[in-house]
């Protein structure tokens, strides 16, 4: 009896520590951000803007993870590599095929056409992989499709290594978007970041509209919650899942193009690293939750930007450590993610 009471009280103390540790860490993070702004407001705003741009990219990729996880509970490890393919495709289409290498109105038009093309290509590739591989494994143990996803990831990387893609070393393409940006006082708003944000926001709005307002979106949400029940409503579950893969692939394609226009180089391994960060963003926001993926992406983008470039940052060599430390801490204190579903539903 006394033992039980003791263990109960020690658990209560542990809960207390966990709760206060969690909120004090949050407070520390906010203080750190504010300190950055106080120390050098101009630089901090520049960094914040940069972070929002990176965050938008992460969000676009994270959406693909979260869409697919939401509907069939698969962590699609090949998704980052699909993003890589998208970046390579956009180099090939914009520069090699259309020859757009400078900042002219015509080339901006080409950019617009190309982003649609790349989105369609990546959407189609994702759809094809679902049709050929994951669909057959839907009733198999989860590990089967997980390992398949890892395999697809290798196939995509191999594809990216072909000499007509990037080859085995990073390849540089000229950018249509000019370097630099608008400078207001000591704050610089980069053109590339403006492009990223200008493309990402309409895409997010479009995606949200599809999922919440259209018939196809209703089918997606129903399928995500209960596949058999969705089928009993007359929903074509196979087609709905395929559509979800296509949608996620298209977002990865858009992200690939924006990435290349921002950085200028890409190579076959770029999807692994960015994919992992984007996956972290999806988990951080609550995997399966679309607004969560965006919040997670922006949060990581901004935190990383301040770490890499802020006055009190740890600089780039700590970038990955910093991001994954955030992930680990969040998983300890809020395992379901920022907007995730906290409890398992009763059946």
């Amino acid at each position: 009896m006394a033992e039980a009471a003791e263990s109960r009280s020690s658990r209560a103390v542990k809960d207390l520590i966990l709760r206060y540790l969690g909120s004090s860490l949050l407070v520390l993070a906010i203080i750190w951000l504010l300190a950055n702004f106080v120390a050098d407001p101009g630089r901090s705003f520049t960094v914040l803007f940069q972070g929002l741009g990176n965050g938008a990219l992460y969000a676009l990729i994270a959406l693909g993870y979260t869409l697919v996880y939401g509907i069939i509970e698969l962590i699609n490890f090949a998704h980052g590599d699909l993003f890589m393919l998208g970046s390579v495709f956009s180099g090939i289409i914009v520069v090699n095929i259309f020859g757009a290498t400078t900042n002219t109105p015509r080339n901006w038009g080409i950019l617009l056409v190309s982003i649609v093309l790349v989105m369609v290509m990546c959407g189609f590739i994702n759809l094809l992989v679902e049709r050929l591989a994951y669909r057959r494994l839907r009733r198999a143990p989860k590990l089967a499709s997980l390992i398949t996803a890892v395999g697809v990831s290798f196939i995509f990387q191999w594809w990216g290594q072909q000499s007509w893609m990037t080859g085995s070393t990073p390849k540089q393409w000229p950018q249509v978007v000019p370097n630099g940006g608008i400078t207001i006082g000591s704050v610089t708003l980069a053109w590339t970041v403006m492009l990223v944000i200008a493309v990402t926001i309409p895409l997010l709005v479009l995606l949200q509209w599809i999922v919440t307002r259209t018939r196809q979106g209703r089918a997606m949400r129903a399928t995500a919650q209960d596949q058999d029940a969705a089928m009993l409503m007359g929903i074509d579950v196979d087609r709905t899942i395929a559509f979800t893969f296509a949608l996620g692939g298209a977002m990865a394609g858009a992200a690939g193009m924006l990435y290349l226009e921002t950085i200028g180089t890409t190579f076959y391994g770029v999807g692994f690293q960015l994919g992992l960060i984007a996956f972290t963003a999806a988990v951080l926001g609550g995997i399966g939750n679309l607004p969560g993926a965006v919040i997670g992406g922006v949060l990581i983008g901004v935190a990383q930007a301040f770490n890499d470039g802020g006055p009190y940052g740890l600089h780039q060599q700590w970038s990955q450590t910093f991001i994954f430390a955030i992930l680990i801490l969040l998983m300890v204190f809020k395992p379901e993610g920022i907007l995730g579903n906290p409890t398992v539903e009763k059946v």
């Binding site: 089918a219 129903a222 919650q225 029940a229 409503m233 007359g234 929903i235 196979d238």
Partner: protein, 251 residues
């Protein structure tokens, strides 16, 4: 069948056959869940399939709905063979299914759940009328219309599951254990409602463990035991036969 009918006059039924299952066998891996089952449902009837846990009742409904593919046998609905067709194809033909365990969409509102029930219906006016009918049959759902379905009680979820299936304006309504886990008073309410649905013109195939309650409202009944059909007959006759009740219906 006809020879049997001559000996057992109560097996004779009027009404045209709507659903005919012939020699159906369904397996999960190597395990037979349903073996050589033949049954039929006629227009305007409540047909019930009763039997204990593991008798193969739910498997039968899931096979009709296209969630499982049978190994052998045919399922004929209004003249067309539908065995092995995809679930959405079966719904399109007018079979709606309120599944075992309710399977409502817990993170959606009652309203959204009902909308999904009418997923394949294009006629907006007809959907609105069907919705009014459902909310009239289950006034409780109207009270909870904007509540998340997962937060409702078991009885309310059951009403939603039945109501949602009705939203598809079915020719044949499949109901799987609508009384499961409900208080007796709610069971009565649900069964009264099922009778009303039949009286309004929907044919019903009802699967139940609560055999006596099911026989009370059914027109015709089949008794299943470990995957096999054991007996069939007029529901009232079966429920009055003490030997049968003792042997199969837990009376």
């Amino acid at each position: 069948m006809s020879a049997q009918t001559a000996d057992q006059p109560w097996l004779a039924r009027t009404g045209e056959p709507m659903l005919e299952i012939a020699n159906l066998s369904v397996f999960y891996g190597n395990i037979a869940a349903v073996q050589d089952l033949s049954l039929d449902v006629r227009k305007g009837e409540i047909v019930t399939v009763v039997g204990s846990n593991g008798a193969g009742k739910s498997t039968t409904l899931r096979t009709i709905s296209g969630l499982i593919k049978p190994r052998k046998g045919t399922i004929t609905f209004q003249g067309d063979q539908i065995q092995g067709k995809k679930g959405n194809e079966v719904v399109r033909r007018g079979i709606c299914h309120s599944p075992e365990g309710r399977r409502i969409f817990p993170r959606m509102t009652v309203d959204e759940n009902l909308d999904l029930g009418a997923f394949l219906q294009n006629d907006k006016a007809a959907v609105a009328a069907e919705r009014d009918r459902v909310l009239e049959l289950f006034p409780r759902l109207a009270e909870r219309i904007n509540q998340k379905a997962g937060t409702m009680s078991g009885g309310e979820q059951q009403m939603l599951a039945v109501g949602r299936a009705m939203m598809g304006n079915p020719t044949l309504l499949l109901l799987d254990e609508p009384s499961m886990g409900l208080a007796p008073i709610l069971v009565d309410l649900i069964f009264d409602t099922i009778e009303k649905i039949r009286d309004q013109g929907t044919t019903i195939l009802l699967v139940e463990q609560n055999a006596l309650a099911a026989l009370r409202i059914a027109d015709y009944a089949y008794v299943m035991e470990s995957g096999h059909l054991k007996l069939e007959g007029d529901a009232k006759q079966l429920s009055r036969d003490d030997a049968i009740v003792r042997a199969y219906l837990g009376g």
